[in-house]
Symmetry: D2
Subunit: 373 residues, 4 copies
């Protein structure tokens, strides 16, 4: 059940934090169990999180093949009747993507609380799956990728380019999850704090969901221009409007004087939350979406929660059904939300350190590794 | 439409912060418009908030007659066909209580957002209604109380003692409001932080709503014993268990190892929120109910909101419909929740400074002023 | 506080069911109390409900001036400092519209249940306000319209044409209310049953809120073409596809085989509900929006509610805050949802019987009376 | 991994509808895969549904061992490290119960819609699992019961008697599921239609959740007395109060004149829904819980849904997490809700036809089969 596979393949391996990644060769698995797949990697997104992981900002096991935003083609199957997460048959050569998180389906979060995003035994490809032992190929920065049978794989339809999937990256599914928590309603005023990937994805969803007006605070200018192209009614450039009081006045002026119905934090600095609680109207909702990483605490006043009767919500990562929504959204709506245009830089495996550097210094739109390019 | 009223009456007046209240005489209004009432005060609760107001911790206008937890009897009516908030006819001699907050019914919070607790023009008897000008009698610490026509007045049924109403005080309606936001479900585990009046009222509601288990962290011991009498399954004495890590372990042990489904903050110190966010399970709800006053910020980490997928909620004061729930609850369920037994100290108007002192030093259960005693 | 008003004006009066309306002259009120207004009518929509009222299908008092979808200009004010419902000052000559329902603000639905659309004492201009006694001018089919001080009046901004307001009519605010109940989420599949005014308004909101796909079952063809212009992804012509089983198959095919996430009934025949319950997926939501009138029962099977775990919702009329949403929507989004283009027929007061006839026979888009034209 | 098991055992088998069940002997499985269990049956509840199945009212495969409310002890395990659904290790001799429904975890309802109660491939022990082929032992009416590895098994704590579990039966978990949908709040007025097992379970939960008042319409008298013992504030005997208008007046009188906030249908006759929609207040909630079986349609008026702004909800069967709630409820609260006292009749396997007859003729409280008695 496979195309003719090479015996081994090249991958970029992180062996130490803040050390250059090394190109190493790993053997491909010889035998696959039912449901297991080998994917020939097409595009592997370089996420900002990869930069943080490379700096050692999360406790993760080494050596590790980074890469958790990946598309590729099925190169080998453990069983011929394997299906994707939506029940569609898979075949050699099919173009696919997949969720990086695998959950245990037995812990209290998976079972009792129906909150698998908080599975006590979650494993994420490219993050918490070291490559020291077989099957080795557990991250996107490599020519081939191994997938366990419990991975949520999605066959990509022909009219959905891989560039859209990787261009949107893990930000879009994160935002889909966040908005599921928000239960935003059409005609609500929405403020997005942050114009990076999560901010842009949140903006796209808010626009699609009928936000009015739709405001972004962020920067730099080219990112805000992209936000306008995606439908922002008002952008506030944090480099130009440096005084929070002035920014607040701009938001109040745009929302009838009392603040936004909904504020979505997509910045990742706790100080943004301090500013954001002031920008929601009394009775409003505040989604903390940008704090996947632990950027530490800030001086926050609980009195505001009581007095303003705020609802503050969080969402962590994503679940497979958020992928079904995201992929269909990208397929049908990419003329209005051209995530596929975000990819500006392509790197080979040998250039992976340059890729991380380019992302770290904000020189890129979306950067991707093309391991078989 | 009145009993024979005196021309004037005595009230305790706050003329300066941290100054002794003075007993002054004010004339009773001679004419009442339709809907206006004069109440002969029976019991006026001394709320902890009164102590804070006396210390000048909120910007309020002086001179002021304190007292916002009041029962009394209708002594004069502006029109004979006046009804209470639930449409029941009022008559001279009827025993009543009333909400202290009056809302404008025209601002965006009253109208568009249906959030009258955040009315932009809210006025509260005993808090923001100075007594320098007629009709003067705008707080509970006096022999008579004037009520504007837009006050939500409630006729008290014969089988509901005034002691229950004032014993529960504004804490109970605040908690009713908070639990409306919470949408707590039966069989959820609930942790109450704080065993003061708001904590005890929250505990009563959580018990009534089927919390299991129902845990309280607080003190001192006599308050925790009262919590047990009201139905707490586990009480954690903050004076005995001084290490937050030990308290956390006790909460986890009582909730299956992952934290409480619901945590209700009734402490009023921001540090309690820091501790509390650690005590809710992932996906849990956290109600900030004890921060009516602004006790300042604390170092709070937004990453917890994202990672734990918390929902943090606030509720401010109360609305009249929360009174309908609270009064019916007190009427029908006071054998299980004996709020009427909480009153431990009674003071005359001349003793009002002793009353404030007693409450400030936590010597009392509930203290009340009996102005016509 | 008035322009020079005539002493009397002409109105079309319904004196008996199924009888021709008569043109009568009524005196204008000479004195207005604070908050009261006289409006010079610009456009008065002829709603399908007017046809039903004319046929006597609801118990209403006669004689009556029909018309509950009205715009006009302020011609006289009881006080110079009158404001509209959103607090904006009104002046002679201002163009306005207003909600037809006036609520008592004192019954249990207004107060305790916060459900003013079900006010026990609701009065609706043009429906339940007979014209036999002063102030007479209580419906839209007349040259002038009297407004009580408790009416929710909205000043129309210059960039919002009256044609859009009357073109959308009471259908849009009804749909705004319905979708508030629905809490539809972006990316949900939505089926609209019915392509009349309520169906079209529901479709516009569902589109704006990110429905995907968005399906309509209705007719005749020109209405379905309008639905396509407003954004329907699929229209099913009930005249062409007469077999419910075929219609069901078309809906299933368009929704992944299991039915729509959300179905909105905008037909008004109970048999549509029978069909509709089969078209929602298990766990889906069903909004009964088209049954403002009582069209009688149908054979409905409660087993479907249990087995399919449906949520069936209703919404009745509208509240003022639904108007704030609707008017802003019309102002900002009418390039995509051209409700102003729906007006196809204009009639004078003398032609009002022809107008009713034209609407009854479905010859029109939206018909309007132009009483001062 | 087993106690010494017999080679075969006796079961009561349904070979034809409306035919007497036959006692047959089946071989016990010789080998078990990991996760599979053999249970020695202790108590098997005779559910009213069994009577309906016996009459052929649902399309089910034959031959069949009935019984879907079962407790027993682990007699053999496929692997020594098998755990129950909550992760607790299982051992030979452990007393357990289990959910009868097994879901595929791969269909759209299991995956995308998170609605496993509507799994497209659901199999239920004792209902849709014929016994013609190995492993045969797939229903409760037998000495031993085979459990597949994907069964949600619950180890019963020592302080939870099996009588409580089987006394509550599948009614309690169904009601837990229904109330999860309802999101009933404390202090809401609740009307239960029906005083059978589902009605009694719903009543217990409503009481525990703080319903006030709590009303039941049902019969016969002994069942209503049981309802009173479980906490009903008012019972209306349908045999005594035969006029629906009088029943309606009684409900209105008990709920302030406008109807109940929440109505829970537990009757199973569609006519009850017709009556019930009239008994909810405007804006109220109506849960259709008693229509697991298809009892056909009734003349229901959708106009009521619109005009009364009702929310009508359904819930089907249960999911494993509802069991966790139900079992803990029975363990901790059975002094107030003595479900264990409901068992009135015990039958051997040989008496199973008498058992069905007794249940069909309403002669029993709860009847159980004791196959190894």
């Amino acid at each position: 059940m496979s195309t003719s596979l090479p015996a081994s393949c090249s991958c970029a391996v992180m062996t130490g934090f803040n050390q250059p990644l090394e190109t190493r060769s790993f053997p491909l698995p010889r035998e696959l169990k039912p449901g297991e797949l080998i994917i020939k990697v097409e595009l592997a997104g370089v996420c900002g999180t990869d930069v943080h992981l490379h700096k050692g900002e999360l406790k993760i096991p080494l050596p590790l093949i980074l890469g958790h935003e990946t598309t590729g083609r099925v190169a080998a199957m453990g069983a011929s009747d394997t299906k994707d997460w939506l029940g569609r048959p898979l075949a050699i050569g099919d173009r696919v993507s997949f969720t990086v998180g695998r959950t245990c389906k037995t812990c209290r979060y998976c079972r009792v609380y129906r909150l698998p995003s908080r599975c006590l035994n979650r494993k994420a490809y490219g993050v918490s799956t070291p490559c020291g032992e077989a099957p080795h190929l557990l991250g996107g920065y490599g020519q081939y990728h191994f997938l366990y049978a419990d991975t949520a794989v999605f066959r990509l339809p022909d009219d959905l380019p891989s560039e859209a999937v990787v261009g949107a990256g893990c930000s879009l599914v994160t935002a889909v999850h966040g908005f599921e928590k928000l239960q935003m309603q059409w005609a609500e005023s929405v403020l997005i704090q942050g114009s990076g990937p999560v901010g842009l994805a949140s903006l796209a969803i808010a626009k699609e969901a009928g936000a009015r007006p739709l405001i972004v605070i962020g920067g730099p200018r080219d990112r805000l221009e992209r936000c306008q192209r995606f439908g922002a009614d008002l952008t506030i450039d944090i480099d130009e409007v440096r005084d929070p009081a002035v920014r607040r006045k701009m938001v109040l002026d745009a929302t009838g004087g009392l603040g936004a119905d909904v504020v979505v934090e997509c910045v990742g600095h706790p100080q943004a939350v301090v500013e954001g609680w002031e920008l929601a109207r009394d009775g409003g909702k505040y989604l903390v979406l940008g704090h996947y990483g632990d950027a530490g605490p800030a001086m926050l006043n609980p009195h505001l929660i009581t007095r303003k009767e705020l609802t503050v919500l969080g969402a962590w990562g994503s679940e497979p059904q958020h992928w079904t929504i995201a992929l269909e959204f990208l397929r049908t709506r990419r003329s209005d939300y051209p995530f596929h245009e975000l990819i500006t830089h392509r790197f080979s495996i040998g250039q992976v350190n340059e890729a991380l550097q380019a992302v770290a210094s904000w020189q890129t739109g979306k950067a991707v590794i093309v391991p078989n390019g």
